[in-house]
Amino acid sequence: AGGPVNVFTGADANIVDFWNNIVAPAFAKAHPGESIKVIDAGDDSGLRAIAERALAALASKTDPHADLFEAFDPKLPAGGIKAGLWVDFKQAKIPLYDHINAMAFQSDYSLPYRGSQVLLAYDSTKLDPKKAPKTWADLTAWIKANPGQFIYNRPDKGGSGGNFVRRAIHEVNGRDPAKFTIDNFTPAYAEKTLTPAWKLLQDLAPSLYDKGAYTSGNTQSIQLLAQGVVTMVPVWSDQILKAIKEGVLPDTTGLVQLTDLALCGDFNRMVIPTNATNKDAAMKLAAFMLTDEMQKAVITEIGGFPAISWDYLPKDLRDKYADVVPKSIPTFPQGDWSPAVNDGWYRNVAPNLARG
Protein backbone atom coordinates (compact mmCIF):
# COMPACT_ATOMS: atom_id res chain seq x y z
CA ALA A 1 0.00 0.00 0.00
CA GLY A 2 0.95 3.60 -0.47
CA GLY A 3 0.44 6.05 2.33
CA PRO A 4 -2.25 5.91 4.94
CA VAL A 5 -5.87 6.09 3.85
CA ASN A 6 -6.88 9.72 4.14
CA VAL A 7 -10.28 9.68 5.79
CA PHE A 8 -12.08 13.01 5.82
CA THR A 9 -14.85 13.55 8.29
CA GLY A 10 -17.05 16.48 9.13
CA ALA A 11 -18.56 14.83 12.14
CA ASP A 12 -18.36 15.61 15.81
CA ALA A 13 -15.48 14.85 18.08
CA ASN A 14 -17.00 11.61 19.30
CA ILE A 15 -16.95 10.23 15.77
CA VAL A 16 -13.44 11.48 15.16
CA ASP A 17 -12.37 9.80 18.34
CA PHE A 18 -14.19 6.66 17.28
CA TRP A 19 -12.26 6.51 14.04
CA ASN A 20 -8.97 7.36 15.65
CA ASN A 21 -9.23 5.14 18.68
CA ILE A 22 -11.34 2.21 17.52
CA VAL A 23 -11.40 1.97 13.77
CA ALA A 24 -7.78 2.79 13.04
CA PRO A 25 -6.15 0.16 15.29
CA ALA A 26 -8.69 -2.46 14.34
CA PHE A 27 -8.20 -1.83 10.66
CA ALA A 28 -4.43 -1.92 10.99
CA LYS A 29 -4.74 -5.22 12.80
CA ALA A 30 -7.09 -6.71 10.24
CA HIS A 31 -5.06 -5.47 7.31
CA PRO A 32 -1.40 -5.38 8.25
CA GLY A 33 0.47 -2.73 6.33
CA GLU A 34 -2.52 -0.45 5.97
CA SER A 35 -3.18 2.55 8.13
CA ILE A 36 -5.64 5.41 8.49
CA LYS A 37 -5.19 9.13 8.81
CA VAL A 38 -8.32 10.86 10.02
CA ILE A 39 -8.66 14.47 8.94
CA ASP A 40 -11.27 16.56 10.61
CA ALA A 41 -13.01 18.78 8.10
CA GLY A 42 -15.04 20.55 10.75
CA ASP A 43 -18.29 20.52 8.90
CA ASP A 44 -19.96 19.69 5.64
CA SER A 45 -18.61 22.64 3.73
CA GLY A 46 -15.12 21.47 4.61
CA LEU A 47 -15.84 18.11 3.05
CA ARG A 48 -17.47 19.83 0.19
CA ALA A 49 -14.28 21.75 -0.62
CA ILE A 50 -12.28 18.54 -0.66
CA ALA A 51 -14.84 16.89 -2.90
CA GLU A 52 -14.61 19.78 -5.32
CA ARG A 53 -10.89 19.38 -5.25
CA ALA A 54 -11.19 15.70 -5.98
CA LEU A 55 -13.40 16.50 -8.93
CA ALA A 56 -10.83 18.94 -10.24
CA ALA A 57 -8.17 16.31 -9.71
CA LEU A 58 -10.24 13.86 -11.69
CA ALA A 59 -10.36 16.27 -14.58
CA SER A 60 -6.63 16.84 -14.49
CA LYS A 61 -5.77 13.26 -13.58
CA THR A 62 -3.84 14.27 -10.51
CA ASP A 63 -3.74 13.15 -6.94
CA PRO A 64 -6.85 14.30 -5.01
CA HIS A 65 -5.15 13.70 -1.67
CA ALA A 66 -8.36 12.18 -0.37
CA ASP A 67 -9.30 8.51 -0.16
CA LEU A 68 -12.51 8.22 1.78
CA PHE A 69 -15.22 10.48 3.13
CA GLU A 70 -16.70 9.28 6.36
CA ALA A 71 -20.09 10.75 5.55
CA PHE A 72 -20.90 12.57 2.38
CA ASP A 73 -23.61 12.98 -0.15
CA PRO A 74 -22.35 11.79 -3.56
CA LYS A 75 -24.76 14.15 -5.30
CA LEU A 76 -22.13 16.73 -4.46
CA PRO A 77 -20.35 18.32 -6.13
CA ALA A 78 -22.84 18.76 -8.92
CA GLY A 79 -21.83 16.68 -11.89
CA GLY A 80 -19.56 14.51 -9.80
CA ILE A 81 -21.43 11.31 -10.43
CA LYS A 82 -21.68 11.98 -14.11
CA ALA A 83 -17.97 12.60 -14.28
CA GLY A 84 -17.38 9.32 -12.53
CA LEU A 85 -15.98 10.82 -9.40
CA TRP A 86 -17.41 8.35 -6.90
CA VAL A 87 -16.94 4.65 -6.64
CA ASP A 88 -20.11 2.75 -7.47
CA PHE A 89 -20.48 0.42 -4.51
CA LYS A 90 -23.21 -1.55 -6.13
CA GLN A 91 -20.81 -2.60 -8.83
CA ALA A 92 -17.90 -2.95 -6.48
CA LYS A 93 -18.95 -6.22 -4.98
CA ILE A 94 -18.35 -5.22 -1.43
CA PRO A 95 -18.73 -8.16 0.91
CA LEU A 96 -21.84 -7.85 3.08
CA TYR A 97 -23.26 -5.20 0.75
CA ASP A 98 -26.50 -7.13 0.55
CA HIS A 99 -26.78 -7.26 4.33
CA ILE A 100 -27.22 -3.53 4.56
CA ASN A 101 -30.53 -2.24 5.80
CA ALA A 102 -32.49 -1.44 2.67
CA MET A 103 -33.80 1.77 4.17
CA ALA A 104 -30.26 3.04 4.56
CA PHE A 105 -29.52 3.30 0.87
CA GLN A 106 -29.79 6.63 -0.88
CA SER A 107 -27.49 6.09 -3.79
CA ASP A 108 -25.28 3.53 -5.40
CA TYR A 109 -22.33 5.76 -4.82
CA SER A 110 -22.42 5.87 -1.06
CA LEU A 111 -22.10 3.16 1.49
CA PRO A 112 -24.10 3.41 4.73
CA TYR A 113 -22.24 2.27 7.83
CA ARG A 114 -24.02 3.78 10.81
CA GLY A 115 -27.28 5.46 11.69
CA SER A 116 -28.68 7.59 14.44
CA GLN A 117 -32.08 8.69 15.53
CA VAL A 118 -33.68 11.93 16.54
CA LEU A 119 -35.33 12.25 19.94
CA LEU A 120 -37.03 14.95 21.87
CA ALA A 121 -35.02 16.24 24.78
CA TYR A 122 -36.72 18.19 27.54
CA ASP A 123 -36.09 19.79 30.85
CA SER A 124 -37.67 17.44 33.34
CA THR A 125 -37.76 20.11 36.02
CA LYS A 126 -40.25 21.98 33.93
CA LEU A 127 -42.05 19.13 32.28
CA ASP A 128 -42.99 16.09 34.24
CA PRO A 129 -41.64 13.02 32.42
CA LYS A 130 -44.99 11.42 32.87
CA LYS A 131 -46.60 14.19 30.90
CA ALA A 132 -43.99 14.15 28.16
CA PRO A 133 -45.72 13.94 24.77
CA LYS A 134 -45.67 10.53 23.16
CA THR A 135 -47.49 11.27 19.92
CA TRP A 136 -47.39 14.02 17.34
CA ALA A 137 -50.75 15.21 18.50
CA ASP A 138 -49.58 15.36 22.11
CA LEU A 139 -46.50 17.18 21.00
CA THR A 140 -48.29 19.87 19.03
CA ALA A 141 -50.81 20.28 21.80
CA TRP A 142 -48.02 20.72 24.29
CA ILE A 143 -46.21 23.22 22.05
CA LYS A 144 -49.31 25.30 21.70
CA ALA A 145 -50.06 25.10 25.38
CA ASN A 146 -46.57 26.27 26.24
CA PRO A 147 -45.74 28.99 23.74
CA GLY A 148 -42.08 29.89 23.44
CA GLN A 149 -40.91 26.66 25.03
CA PHE A 150 -40.08 24.72 21.91
CA ILE A 151 -37.60 25.37 19.14
CA TYR A 152 -36.19 23.30 16.33
CA ASN A 153 -33.27 24.17 14.12
CA ARG A 154 -33.28 24.99 10.44
CA PRO A 155 -33.65 21.83 8.41
CA ASP A 156 -30.59 22.32 6.25
CA LYS A 157 -28.04 22.27 9.02
CA GLY A 158 -27.53 19.55 11.54
CA GLY A 159 -30.53 17.49 10.74
CA SER A 160 -32.33 17.23 14.07
CA GLY A 161 -34.64 20.06 13.06
CA GLY A 162 -34.77 18.67 9.55
CA ASN A 163 -36.03 15.37 10.82
CA PHE A 164 -38.59 17.13 12.94
CA VAL A 165 -39.79 18.80 9.74
CA ARG A 166 -39.82 15.42 7.99
CA ARG A 167 -41.84 13.96 10.79
CA ALA A 168 -44.40 16.67 10.12
CA ILE A 169 -44.40 15.65 6.48
CA HIS A 170 -45.00 12.05 7.47
CA GLU A 171 -47.77 13.23 9.76
CA VAL A 172 -49.75 14.90 6.99
CA ASN A 173 -49.16 11.95 4.68
CA GLY A 174 -50.67 9.26 6.77
CA ARG A 175 -47.57 8.54 8.84
CA ASP A 176 -46.36 6.34 6.07
CA PRO A 177 -42.64 6.59 5.39
CA ALA A 178 -43.08 4.34 2.41
CA LYS A 179 -44.77 7.14 0.52
CA PHE A 180 -41.41 8.77 0.06
CA THR A 181 -38.68 6.97 -1.76
CA ILE A 182 -35.53 8.10 -3.41
CA ASP A 183 -37.02 7.56 -6.83
CA ASN A 184 -40.56 8.78 -6.55
CA PHE A 185 -39.76 12.47 -6.47
CA THR A 186 -41.53 14.68 -8.93
CA PRO A 187 -42.17 18.36 -8.40
CA ALA A 188 -45.89 17.82 -8.61
CA TYR A 189 -45.84 15.00 -6.11
CA ALA A 190 -43.69 17.05 -3.80
CA GLU A 191 -46.06 19.97 -4.10
CA LYS A 192 -48.94 17.77 -3.19
CA THR A 193 -47.30 16.06 -0.25
CA LEU A 194 -45.33 18.94 1.20
CA THR A 195 -47.76 21.83 1.11
CA PRO A 196 -49.98 20.50 3.91
CA ALA A 197 -46.86 20.04 6.02
CA TRP A 198 -45.93 23.70 5.55
CA LYS A 199 -49.40 24.61 6.78
CA LEU A 200 -48.93 22.46 9.81
CA LEU A 201 -45.59 24.00 10.61
CA GLN A 202 -46.76 27.53 9.98
CA ASP A 203 -49.50 26.84 12.40
CA LEU A 204 -46.93 25.86 15.01
CA ALA A 205 -44.64 28.81 14.38
CA PRO A 206 -46.33 31.38 16.63
CA SER A 207 -46.02 28.99 19.56
CA LEU A 208 -42.30 28.46 19.06
CA TYR A 209 -39.55 30.30 20.82
CA ASP A 210 -39.68 34.02 20.07
CA LYS A 211 -42.83 33.47 18.00
CA GLY A 212 -41.11 31.58 15.26
CA ALA A 213 -37.34 31.68 15.52
CA TYR A 214 -35.19 28.77 14.41
CA THR A 215 -31.70 28.01 15.62
CA SER A 216 -28.92 27.50 13.17
CA GLY A 217 -27.84 24.06 14.26
CA ASN A 218 -28.16 21.13 16.62
CA THR A 219 -25.72 22.66 19.04
CA GLN A 220 -27.53 25.95 19.31
CA SER A 221 -30.74 24.08 20.09
CA ILE A 222 -29.06 22.13 22.83
CA GLN A 223 -27.58 25.33 24.20
CA LEU A 224 -30.95 27.00 24.41
CA LEU A 225 -32.16 23.98 26.29
CA ALA A 226 -29.12 24.11 28.53
CA GLN A 227 -29.66 27.78 29.28
CA GLY A 228 -33.22 27.13 30.28
CA VAL A 229 -34.58 29.29 27.50
CA VAL A 230 -36.79 26.56 26.11
CA THR A 231 -38.13 23.38 27.56
CA MET A 232 -37.96 21.01 24.65
CA VAL A 233 -35.95 20.53 21.46
CA PRO A 234 -35.46 17.73 18.94
CA VAL A 235 -31.94 16.27 19.22
CA TRP A 236 -29.71 13.56 17.82
CA SER A 237 -29.54 10.64 20.18
CA ASP A 238 -25.77 10.26 20.22
CA GLN A 239 -25.26 13.94 20.65
CA ILE A 240 -27.65 14.35 23.54
CA LEU A 241 -26.20 11.40 25.38
CA LYS A 242 -22.75 12.88 25.03
CA ALA A 243 -24.01 16.28 26.13
CA ILE A 244 -25.47 14.85 29.28
CA LYS A 245 -22.32 12.88 29.92
CA GLU A 246 -20.15 15.98 29.53
CA GLY A 247 -22.31 18.08 31.78
CA VAL A 248 -23.54 20.43 29.10
CA LEU A 249 -27.00 19.37 30.06
CA PRO A 250 -28.04 18.48 33.57
CA ASP A 251 -28.98 14.96 34.55
CA THR A 252 -32.53 16.17 34.78
CA THR A 253 -32.72 16.21 31.01
CA GLY A 254 -35.42 13.87 29.84
CA LEU A 255 -35.58 12.05 26.52
CA VAL A 256 -38.62 10.86 24.71
CA GLN A 257 -39.43 9.34 21.33
CA LEU A 258 -42.78 9.58 19.64
CA THR A 259 -44.52 6.27 19.64
CA ASP A 260 -47.07 6.78 16.86
CA LEU A 261 -44.24 7.19 14.42
CA ALA A 262 -40.74 7.88 15.55
CA LEU A 263 -38.96 11.01 14.48
CA CYS A 264 -36.86 10.25 11.44
CA GLY A 265 -33.31 9.16 11.84
CA ASP A 266 -30.62 9.01 9.27
CA PHE A 267 -27.64 7.02 8.13
CA ASN A 268 -24.10 8.09 7.54
CA ARG A 269 -22.74 6.94 4.26
CA MET A 270 -19.16 6.73 3.12
CA VAL A 271 -17.98 7.73 -0.34
CA ILE A 272 -14.72 7.01 -2.12
CA PRO A 273 -13.33 9.00 -5.03
CA THR A 274 -12.50 6.79 -7.97
CA ASN A 275 -9.25 8.57 -8.47
CA ALA A 276 -8.10 8.10 -4.87
CA THR A 277 -4.45 7.17 -4.66
CA ASN A 278 -5.18 4.57 -2.03
CA LYS A 279 -8.43 3.45 -3.51
CA ASP A 280 -7.79 -0.21 -2.90
CA ALA A 281 -7.04 0.32 0.72
CA ALA A 282 -10.01 2.64 0.99
CA MET A 283 -12.26 -0.06 -0.43
CA LYS A 284 -10.88 -2.45 2.10
CA LEU A 285 -11.62 0.05 4.80
CA ALA A 286 -15.17 0.58 3.55
CA ALA A 287 -15.77 -3.13 3.57
CA PHE A 288 -14.18 -3.37 6.97
CA MET A 289 -16.69 -0.91 8.37
CA LEU A 290 -19.49 -3.34 7.57
CA THR A 291 -17.94 -6.18 9.52
CA ASP A 292 -19.56 -7.38 12.69
CA GLU A 293 -16.71 -6.03 14.67
CA MET A 294 -17.22 -2.51 13.45
CA GLN A 295 -21.00 -2.57 13.42
CA LYS A 296 -20.89 -3.70 16.99
CA ALA A 297 -18.52 -0.88 17.78
CA VAL A 298 -20.98 1.56 16.24
CA ILE A 299 -23.57 0.44 18.72
CA THR A 300 -21.38 0.10 21.76
CA GLU A 301 -18.93 2.94 21.30
CA ILE A 302 -21.01 5.75 19.90
CA GLY A 303 -24.51 4.66 20.72
CA GLY A 304 -25.27 4.54 17.03
CA PHE A 305 -27.56 2.43 14.96
CA PRO A 306 -26.08 -0.28 12.73
CA ALA A 307 -26.27 -0.06 8.98
CA ILE A 308 -26.43 -3.83 8.63
CA SER A 309 -29.91 -5.14 9.13
CA TRP A 310 -30.52 -6.41 12.64
CA ASP A 311 -31.23 -9.78 11.13
CA TYR A 312 -27.68 -10.23 10.06
CA LEU A 313 -26.21 -9.11 13.31
CA PRO A 314 -25.11 -11.64 15.89
CA LYS A 315 -27.96 -12.63 18.10
CA ASP A 316 -26.27 -11.82 21.38
CA LEU A 317 -25.72 -8.30 20.22
CA ARG A 318 -29.26 -8.04 19.07
CA ASP A 319 -30.52 -9.12 22.46
CA LYS A 320 -28.15 -7.06 24.46
CA TYR A 321 -29.03 -3.75 22.87
CA ALA A 322 -32.66 -4.42 22.15
CA ASP A 323 -33.82 -1.91 24.78
CA VAL A 324 -31.46 0.86 23.87
CA VAL A 325 -31.46 0.72 20.15
CA PRO A 326 -34.78 0.57 18.40
CA LYS A 327 -35.31 -2.16 15.92
CA SER A 328 -35.86 0.28 13.16
CA ILE A 329 -35.97 3.98 12.59
CA PRO A 330 -38.00 5.66 9.90
CA THR A 331 -35.94 7.55 7.36
CA PHE A 332 -36.70 10.07 4.74
CA PRO A 333 -35.07 9.86 1.34
CA GLN A 334 -32.52 12.41 0.31
CA GLY A 335 -31.82 12.82 -3.37
CA ASP A 336 -34.09 15.38 -4.90
CA TRP A 337 -36.24 15.41 -1.82
CA SER A 338 -33.67 17.25 0.29
CA PRO A 339 -33.61 20.49 -1.67
CA ALA A 340 -37.35 20.36 -2.06
CA VAL A 341 -37.93 19.98 1.65
CA ASN A 342 -35.24 22.37 2.77
CA ASP A 343 -35.91 25.15 0.34
CA GLY A 344 -39.63 24.68 0.67
CA TRP A 345 -39.29 25.14 4.38
CA TYR A 346 -37.16 28.26 3.97
CA ARG A 347 -39.56 29.79 1.56
CA ASN A 348 -42.80 28.80 3.24
CA VAL A 349 -42.28 28.34 6.92
CA ALA A 350 -39.33 30.48 7.93
CA PRO A 351 -40.52 33.87 6.72
CA ASN A 352 -43.85 33.78 8.51
CA LEU A 353 -42.73 35.60 11.55
CA ALA A 354 -45.44 36.65 13.90
CA ARG A 355 -42.94 38.85 15.67
CA GLY A 356 -44.00 42.46 15.89
Partner: protein
Protein backbone atom coordinates in the same frame (compact mmCIF):
# COMPACT_ATOMS: atom_id res chain seq x y z
CA UNK B 1 -0.38 75.02 43.72
CA UNK B 2 -1.08 76.71 40.44
CA UNK B 3 0.62 74.00 38.44
CA UNK B 4 -1.19 71.33 40.29
CA UNK B 5 -4.62 72.77 39.73
CA UNK B 6 -3.82 73.25 36.07
CA UNK B 7 -2.80 69.67 35.71
CA UNK B 8 -5.89 68.54 37.43
CA UNK B 9 -8.06 70.72 35.24
CA UNK B 10 -6.41 69.32 32.18
CA UNK B 11 -6.81 65.78 33.36
CA UNK B 12 -10.47 66.34 34.08
CA UNK B 13 -11.10 67.89 30.70
CA UNK B 14 -9.42 65.10 28.78
CA UNK B 15 -10.86 62.30 30.74
CA UNK B 16 -14.48 63.08 30.20
CA UNK B 17 -14.48 61.71 26.71
CA UNK B 18 -11.81 59.18 27.44
CA UNK B 19 -13.59 57.74 30.42
CA UNK B 20 -16.87 57.47 28.57
CA UNK B 21 -15.20 55.76 25.64
CA UNK B 22 -13.20 53.49 27.88
CA UNK B 23 -16.26 52.48 29.87
CA UNK B 24 -18.41 51.85 26.83
CA UNK B 25 -15.74 49.83 25.14
CA UNK B 26 -15.02 47.93 28.30
CA UNK B 27 -18.63 46.85 28.50
CA UNK B 28 -19.12 46.20 24.81
CA UNK B 29 -15.83 44.51 24.07
CA UNK B 30 -14.82 42.96 27.33
CA UNK B 31 -18.14 41.40 28.24
CA UNK B 32 -18.25 38.89 25.39
CA UNK B 33 -14.55 38.24 25.81
CA UNK B 34 -15.03 37.70 29.49
CA UNK B 35 -17.77 35.24 28.77
CA UNK B 36 -15.47 33.33 26.44
CA UNK B 37 -12.64 33.44 28.95
CA UNK B 38 -14.90 32.20 31.69
CA UNK B 39 -16.15 29.38 29.53
CA UNK B 40 -12.57 28.29 28.97
CA UNK B 41 -12.30 27.47 32.66
CA UNK B 42 -15.78 26.21 33.14
CA UNK B 43 -17.14 22.73 33.31
CA UNK B 44 -20.71 23.50 34.18
CA UNK B 45 -22.40 26.87 33.87
CA UNK B 46 -26.14 27.09 33.74
CA UNK B 47 -28.64 29.85 33.89
CA UNK B 48 -29.32 31.79 36.05
CA UNK B 49 -26.12 31.50 37.99
CA UNK B 50 -23.84 34.53 37.64
CA UNK B 51 -20.78 32.36 38.05
CA UNK B 52 -20.22 28.92 36.63
CA UNK B 53 -21.36 26.15 38.89
CA UNK B 54 -18.16 24.30 38.33
CA UNK B 55 -14.79 25.56 37.29
CA UNK B 56 -12.21 23.23 35.87
CA UNK B 57 -9.27 22.76 33.59
CA UNK B 58 -10.51 19.60 31.96
CA UNK B 59 -10.79 21.17 28.54
CA UNK B 60 -7.37 22.72 28.82
CA UNK B 61 -5.91 19.35 29.52
CA UNK B 62 -7.77 17.80 26.66
CA UNK B 63 -6.78 20.55 24.27
CA UNK B 64 -3.18 20.91 25.26
CA UNK B 65 -2.62 17.20 25.40
CA UNK B 66 -3.19 16.97 21.68
CA UNK B 67 0.10 17.07 19.88
CA UNK B 68 -1.45 18.43 16.74
CA UNK B 69 -2.43 21.64 18.53
CA UNK B 70 1.18 22.61 19.03
CA UNK B 71 2.26 21.50 15.60
CA UNK B 72 -0.57 23.42 14.07
CA UNK B 73 0.29 26.50 16.07
CA UNK B 74 3.90 26.45 14.96
CA UNK B 75 2.91 25.77 11.40
CA UNK B 76 0.41 28.61 11.45
CA UNK B 77 2.92 31.05 12.79
CA UNK B 78 5.46 30.03 10.19
CA UNK B 79 2.93 30.22 7.43
CA UNK B 80 1.48 33.53 8.52
CA UNK B 81 4.86 35.15 8.89
CA UNK B 82 5.94 33.92 5.48
CA UNK B 83 2.77 35.11 3.83
CA UNK B 84 2.82 38.49 5.51
CA UNK B 85 6.42 39.12 4.60
CA UNK B 86 5.95 37.98 1.04
CA UNK B 87 2.84 40.04 0.73
CA UNK B 88 4.56 43.14 2.04
CA UNK B 89 7.42 42.52 -0.30
CA UNK B 90 5.36 42.37 -3.45
CA UNK B 91 2.47 44.62 -2.47
CA UNK B 92 4.10 47.68 -1.01
CA UNK B 93 6.03 48.56 -4.15
CA UNK B 94 2.90 47.88 -6.15
CA UNK B 95 0.86 50.07 -3.84
CA UNK B 96 3.45 52.78 -4.29
CA UNK B 97 3.16 52.47 -8.03
CA UNK B 98 -0.61 52.71 -7.80
CA UNK B 99 -0.35 55.77 -5.59
CA UNK B 100 2.32 57.64 -7.48
CA UNK B 101 2.79 56.42 -11.01
CA UNK B 102 0.78 56.48 -14.12
CA UNK B 103 0.63 53.48 -16.39
CA UNK B 104 -1.84 51.88 -18.70
CA UNK B 105 -4.60 49.97 -16.98
CA UNK B 106 -3.85 51.43 -13.60
CA UNK B 107 -7.42 51.82 -12.41
CA UNK B 108 -8.58 48.50 -13.73
CA UNK B 109 -5.68 46.67 -12.12
CA UNK B 110 -6.32 48.53 -8.93
CA UNK B 111 -9.94 47.57 -8.95
CA UNK B 112 -9.13 43.96 -9.74
CA UNK B 113 -7.85 43.36 -6.22
CA UNK B 114 -11.34 43.88 -4.96
CA UNK B 115 -12.25 40.61 -6.59
CA UNK B 116 -10.24 38.63 -4.07
CA UNK B 117 -12.58 39.77 -1.32
CA UNK B 118 -15.82 40.30 -3.16
CA UNK B 119 -16.41 36.97 -4.84
CA UNK B 120 -17.43 34.07 -2.64
CA UNK B 121 -14.82 31.35 -2.54
CA UNK B 122 -17.15 28.51 -3.41
CA UNK B 123 -17.48 29.77 -6.94
CA UNK B 124 -13.76 29.62 -7.40
CA UNK B 125 -12.91 26.40 -5.64
CA UNK B 126 -12.90 24.07 -8.58
CA UNK B 127 -10.85 26.28 -10.79
CA UNK B 128 -8.33 27.15 -8.12
CA UNK B 129 -8.04 23.55 -7.01
CA UNK B 130 -7.51 22.57 -10.62
CA UNK B 131 -4.69 25.04 -11.00
CA UNK B 132 -3.01 23.91 -7.82
CA UNK B 133 -3.37 20.25 -8.58
CA UNK B 134 -1.56 20.72 -11.85
CA UNK B 135 1.26 22.42 -10.04
CA UNK B 136 1.38 19.76 -7.34
CA UNK B 137 0.84 22.42 -4.76
CA UNK B 138 -2.02 20.65 -3.06
CA UNK B 139 -1.30 19.75 0.49
CA UNK B 140 1.99 21.59 0.55
CA UNK B 141 3.24 24.50 2.59
CA UNK B 142 3.88 26.69 -0.41
CA UNK B 143 0.52 25.92 -1.91
CA UNK B 144 -1.21 27.21 1.17
CA UNK B 145 1.16 30.15 1.31
CA UNK B 146 0.29 31.03 -2.27
CA UNK B 147 -3.46 30.90 -1.82
CA UNK B 148 -3.27 32.91 1.37
CA UNK B 149 -0.96 35.37 -0.28
CA UNK B 150 -3.58 36.04 -2.90
CA UNK B 151 -6.05 36.62 -0.11
CA UNK B 152 -3.89 39.34 1.41
CA UNK B 153 -3.37 41.33 -1.76
CA UNK B 154 -6.34 43.60 -1.41
CA UNK B 155 -5.55 44.60 2.14
CA UNK B 156 -1.91 45.13 1.41
CA UNK B 157 -2.50 47.21 -1.64
CA UNK B 158 -5.65 49.18 -1.01
CA UNK B 159 -4.70 50.39 2.42
CA UNK B 160 -1.09 51.41 1.72
CA UNK B 161 -2.14 53.27 -1.39
CA UNK B 162 -4.03 55.72 0.77
CA UNK B 163 -1.02 56.00 3.02
CA UNK B 164 1.42 56.65 0.20
CA UNK B 165 -0.78 59.32 -1.25
CA UNK B 166 -0.60 61.18 2.03
CA UNK B 167 3.18 61.34 2.08
CA UNK B 168 4.55 64.77 1.36
CA UNK B 169 6.22 64.69 -2.02
CA UNK B 170 8.70 67.31 -0.98
CA UNK B 171 10.27 64.92 1.48
CA UNK B 172 10.76 62.42 -1.29
CA UNK B 173 12.24 65.09 -3.49
CA UNK B 174 14.67 66.07 -0.78
CA UNK B 175 15.82 62.47 -0.53
CA UNK B 176 16.24 62.14 -4.28
CA UNK B 177 18.30 65.27 -4.07
CA UNK B 178 20.82 63.86 -1.64
CA UNK B 179 21.33 60.97 -3.99
CA UNK B 180 18.82 58.33 -3.02
CA UNK B 181 17.43 56.33 -5.92
CA UNK B 182 13.71 55.68 -6.14
CA UNK B 183 14.00 52.42 -4.24
CA UNK B 184 16.01 53.92 -1.49
CA UNK B 185 13.61 56.85 -1.21
CA UNK B 186 10.80 54.39 -0.94
CA UNK B 187 12.52 52.43 1.74
CA UNK B 188 13.93 55.26 3.81
CA UNK B 189 11.41 58.04 3.39
CA UNK B 190 8.08 57.01 1.96
CA UNK B 191 7.70 53.82 3.88
CA UNK B 192 8.51 55.29 7.30
CA UNK B 193 6.27 58.25 6.60
CA UNK B 194 3.42 55.96 5.74
CA UNK B 195 4.37 53.68 8.60
CA UNK B 196 1.31 53.96 10.85
CA UNK B 197 -1.06 53.01 8.08
CA UNK B 198 1.23 50.37 6.66
CA UNK B 199 1.61 48.95 10.09
CA UNK B 200 -2.13 48.74 10.40
CA UNK B 201 -2.25 46.96 7.06
CA UNK B 202 0.43 44.50 8.06
CA UNK B 203 -1.27 43.80 11.34
CA UNK B 204 -4.58 43.22 9.62
CA UNK B 205 -2.90 41.00 7.07
CA UNK B 206 -1.15 38.99 9.70
CA UNK B 207 -4.25 38.43 11.75
CA UNK B 208 -6.55 37.75 8.84
CA UNK B 209 -4.05 35.31 7.37
CA UNK B 210 -3.66 33.61 10.67
CA UNK B 211 -7.38 33.07 10.98
CA UNK B 212 -7.93 32.26 7.32
CA UNK B 213 -9.39 28.80 6.97
CA UNK B 214 -10.99 28.34 3.56
CA UNK B 215 -7.85 28.52 1.48
CA UNK B 216 -5.77 26.76 4.07
CA UNK B 217 -8.24 23.90 4.14
CA UNK B 218 -8.88 23.61 0.44
CA UNK B 219 -5.22 23.60 -0.48
CA UNK B 220 -3.66 22.34 2.71
CA UNK B 221 -5.66 19.23 3.56
CA UNK B 222 -4.67 16.65 4.50
CA UNK B 223 -1.00 17.35 5.21
CA UNK B 224 -1.07 21.02 6.13
CA UNK B 225 -3.35 21.68 9.03
CA UNK B 226 -3.23 25.17 10.45
CA UNK B 227 -4.33 26.23 13.88
CA UNK B 228 -7.65 27.76 12.86
CA UNK B 229 -8.47 24.81 10.65
CA UNK B 230 -7.95 22.67 13.67
CA UNK B 231 -9.96 25.08 15.72
CA UNK B 232 -12.85 25.09 13.34
CA UNK B 233 -13.08 21.34 13.67
CA UNK B 234 -12.99 21.75 17.42
CA UNK B 235 -15.65 24.34 17.44
CA UNK B 236 -18.06 23.67 14.64
CA UNK B 237 -21.11 21.78 15.67
CA UNK B 238 -19.34 20.97 18.87
CA UNK B 239 -21.55 20.62 21.86
CA UNK B 240 -19.01 21.97 24.18
CA UNK B 241 -18.03 25.57 23.58
CA UNK B 242 -15.14 25.09 25.93
CA UNK B 243 -12.74 23.74 23.31
CA UNK B 244 -13.16 26.84 21.23
CA UNK B 245 -12.96 29.03 24.27
CA UNK B 246 -9.73 27.40 25.36
CA UNK B 247 -8.19 27.80 21.94
CA UNK B 248 -9.26 31.43 21.73
CA UNK B 249 -7.92 32.29 25.11
CA UNK B 250 -4.69 30.55 24.25
CA UNK B 251 -4.26 32.81 21.26
CA UNK B 252 -5.19 35.97 23.08
CA UNK B 253 -2.06 36.12 25.11
CA UNK B 254 0.32 36.45 22.16
CA UNK B 255 -2.21 38.66 20.42
CA UNK B 256 -2.35 40.97 23.35
CA UNK B 257 1.40 41.29 23.53
CA UNK B 258 1.54 41.96 19.81
CA UNK B 259 -1.13 44.56 20.24
CA UNK B 260 0.60 46.47 22.97
CA UNK B 261 3.71 46.48 20.86
CA UNK B 262 1.70 47.66 17.89
CA UNK B 263 0.15 50.43 19.87
CA UNK B 264 3.62 51.72 20.79
CA UNK B 265 4.90 51.81 17.27
CA UNK B 266 1.79 53.27 15.82
CA UNK B 267 0.99 55.95 18.28
CA UNK B 268 4.48 57.29 18.62
CA UNK B 269 4.79 57.56 14.91
CA UNK B 270 1.42 59.08 14.33
CA UNK B 271 2.13 61.48 17.11
CA UNK B 272 5.41 62.63 15.64
CA UNK B 273 3.89 62.90 12.21
CA UNK B 274 0.93 64.92 13.28
CA UNK B 275 3.17 67.55 14.70
CA UNK B 276 5.18 69.10 11.91
CA UNK B 277 4.22 69.21 8.27
Amino acid sequence: MNTLSLLRAQARQLDWIGVILALTLTIVIILPLLVVATWAFTEVWRYPSVLPQQFGLRFWHQTLARADVWNALMLSLRLTTTVTLLSALICLPAAYAFARMDFPGRNIFFLSFLASHAFPKFGLLVTIAGIFLQLHLISTFWGVALIQLVGTLMLMIWIPVAAFQNVDRRMEEAARDVGAGPLRVFWSITLPQAAPTIFAAVLLTFVSTFYETEGAWLIGAPQISTMPVLMISFINNQLVVQYGAVLSVMLWVPSFIALMFARRVMSSNAFAKGFGA
